[in-house]
Amino acid sequence: MAPTPNEAQNLTIIEAINLALHAEMARDPSVLVLGEDIGKNGGVFRATVGLLDRFGEDRVVDTPLAETLVAAMAIGLSTQGFKPVAEIQFSGFLYPCVDQVVNHATRLRNRTRGRLSCPLVIRAPNWGGIHAPEHHSESLETTFAHMPGLRVVCPSNPARAYGLLLAAIRDPDPVIFLEPTRCYRLFKQPVEDHGEALPLDTCFVEREGTDLTLVSWGAMMHDTRLAADRLAEEGIGAEVIDVATLKPLDMDTILASVAKTGRCVIVQESPRAGGWASEIAANLAEHGLLSLFAPVMRVSGYDTVMPLARSERVYIPDVDRILKEVRKVFEIAPKS
């Protein structure tokens, strides 16, 4: 089951996550994984497949059904020299972890002035689109990104999933790692098992362009890329930025892009009000105002409860909705 290192394999996101877990557990004996159904069952999305056989049940810990406990146990472990990587089955079940994360994980270092700390990762599939039951399609990134002392990371492709997960595990502070459920098996990409982490404080400029800046993260990156393709066909050059490390936020990269393009559309799946797109837009309203030719548009989920499967596509932004906002921008500020 153990993957062969140093040889690019064509992997999906979920396979890249599995690979990163294998790699880091092999490299660092202080890494362990815990969560519900992650052992024999290999996780409800198979992210932890093969870990139990390879690393044993001491380091691959099936927990009772108690998310507060999972977070708290990770905190306890992290103070004792371990680097726990906890899996929560769906991000909608992260809410019982919130108290532990905000009142302890993000604070233990500060509270003890560096005496104790919490190098831990909590992973969860995030966002909708797989026709799952209620509570399995939530957008949790902003709830966590508002918390000081935390890092929030949302990979959008296999290579980033691998490199950012390594970085998250190695980071000396708590990291919430939210994975794009509906992209888990959507496409493959060559991923080399080189053990190299990606930076946790830099946006990824995926594609350069001078007419418009398209900003997104996680699952919505997929539609954002497709929208950029469509715009390219029309001769509009969109610069595409993946804000994979939402918190702390690298505004420099986004501001530099907008300084060049003068137009910005931000795409998020979460409810609109108080989403992370608002944080980015607010920074643009403060630091980028003079470069902006047009209003900063946010494409987002609605301020409704996430609908059940039959209506989820009404809620989740898509290429059409992205293009519609882009058109508004060019209507106000036509390409010269």
Partner: protein, 370 residues
């Protein structure tokens, strides 16, 4: 020093009892309860068990053919839902988990509502007005979180001096959650009319009961709240209904809350999204089939002269037809219009959301699917 000094004395004691009336072969091992005098009632219970199993089978089939979302089967646990349905009074409030379909059916929920819910349509949880279910809680997916709602519901009964009970049901896995314990810990503080009913089906997805908690029985968790806790054979519909009725009656009479651990077995995968072969042996499942609640109850009904092969044939046909009709109704239900996602977020749409709803309506249908 006085060598007779004894530093330690006993201050409290607790016992857990287990009840079974019908053994797996359908032999009586206990005295049948009073309700067993009524043969029509006994047959109605059997009928509901069989119809529920037919529904379950149909739902799984719908999922396998791509016509239903993830579905949580109740295969092997039908006796508990039936016991709940028959033990509850119309005015009681059921706060269920998601595997007690028999209870929902008994209380007036059309089968197609359950399909709608797992099919991704919120209207599934809008139970028909005028039925006992109309005031029941919807299925609860976030494990255990619905349990403390019973505290508020039962407190309301007490405050209004209503003679009603809140029955809250959940799985063995749910008994690890803080929400469960906060409810158990406090129910007796107000001596509330609540029955906590655990369907211990031995598994929480891939986690076997023995590794879910250090407790030898789930029943003993009741002692954390100072209330009685007992075990019952949850595949024995007579015993389960009896024990449940006693607990409901005690609660109704002001005797306070209690907890019942109904011991059963999940014969199906956790849900249709699960493959239980990854984590449990076929042998274990086969052994559990020998304890099937329908088999034993039918054997006893037949032996008691309450049921015949002809009855069985009629019922199987009726059950299959009912499930078939439900599937048809479900599949023929057109999706809600897109704007509906705004209609029940608040009692009335806030001004701030009007443009969002207008945008959705202007866009038109996106392709609601089953």
């Amino acid at each position: 020093m006085n060598p007779e000094l004894s530093a330690t004395r006993k201050v409290a004691s607790f016992d857990v009892f287990y009840t079974q009336i019908l053994d797996p072969e359908g032999h009586l091992v206990g005295t049948p309860p009073a309700f067993a005098q009524d043969a029509d009632e006994l047959r109605a219970m059997y009928r509901l068990m069989v119809i529920t199993r037919a529904f379950d089978k149909k739902a799984v089939a719908l999922q396998r053919t791509g016509s239903l979302g993830t579905y949580a089967a109740c295969l092997g646990q039908e006796a508990i839902g039936v016991a709940m349905g028959f033990a509850l009074r119309a005015e009681d409030v059921l706060i269920p988990a998601y595997r007690e379909y028999a209870a929902q059916f008994k209380r007036g929920v059309p089968m197609e509502n359950i399909l709608l819910y797992w099919g991704g349509d919120e209207r599934g949880m809008r139970y028909p007005a005028g039925t006992p279910a109309a005031h029941d809680f919807p299925l609860s997916v976030p494990i255990g979180t619905h349990i403390p709602h019973a505290i508020g519901v039962a407190y309301a009964f007490k405050l209004k001096k209503e003679n009603r009970v809140a029955l809250v049901s959940f799985g063995d896995g749910a008994t690890s959650k803080g929400d469960f314990y906060e409810a158990v810990s406090s129910a007796k503080v107000w001596n509330l009319p609540i029955v906590f009913l655990v369907s211990n089906n031995q598994w929480a997805i891939s986690m076997p009961r023995a590794r879910q908690t250090g407790a030898q029985t789930i029943a003993q968790k009741a002692f954390a709240g100072g209330m009685p806790g007992e075990q019952v054979d949850g595949n024995d519909v007579l015993a389960t209904r009896l024990v449940l009725e006693r607990a409901l009656e005690r609660a109704r009479q002001g005797g306070g809350p209690s907890l019942i651990e109904a011991i059963t077995y999940r014969l199906h995968d956790h849900t249709t999204a699960d493959d239980a072969r990854r984590y449990r042996s076929e042998a274990e499942v086969q052994a559990a089939w020998a304890r099937c609640p329908i088999k034993r109850y039918k054997a006893w009904l037949e032996a008691s002269g309450h049921w015949s092969a002809a009855d069985e044939e009629r019922l199987q046909a009726e059950a299959a037809a009912a499930a078939e009709a439900a599937a048809r109704n479900y599949l023929n239900t057109p999706p809600e219009p897109p704007g509906a996602i705004f209609d029940h977020v608040y009692a009335s749409l806030p001004k701030a959301l009007e443009w969002q709803r207008a945008e959705v309506i202007a866009r038109g249908p996106i392709g609601g699917e089953h």
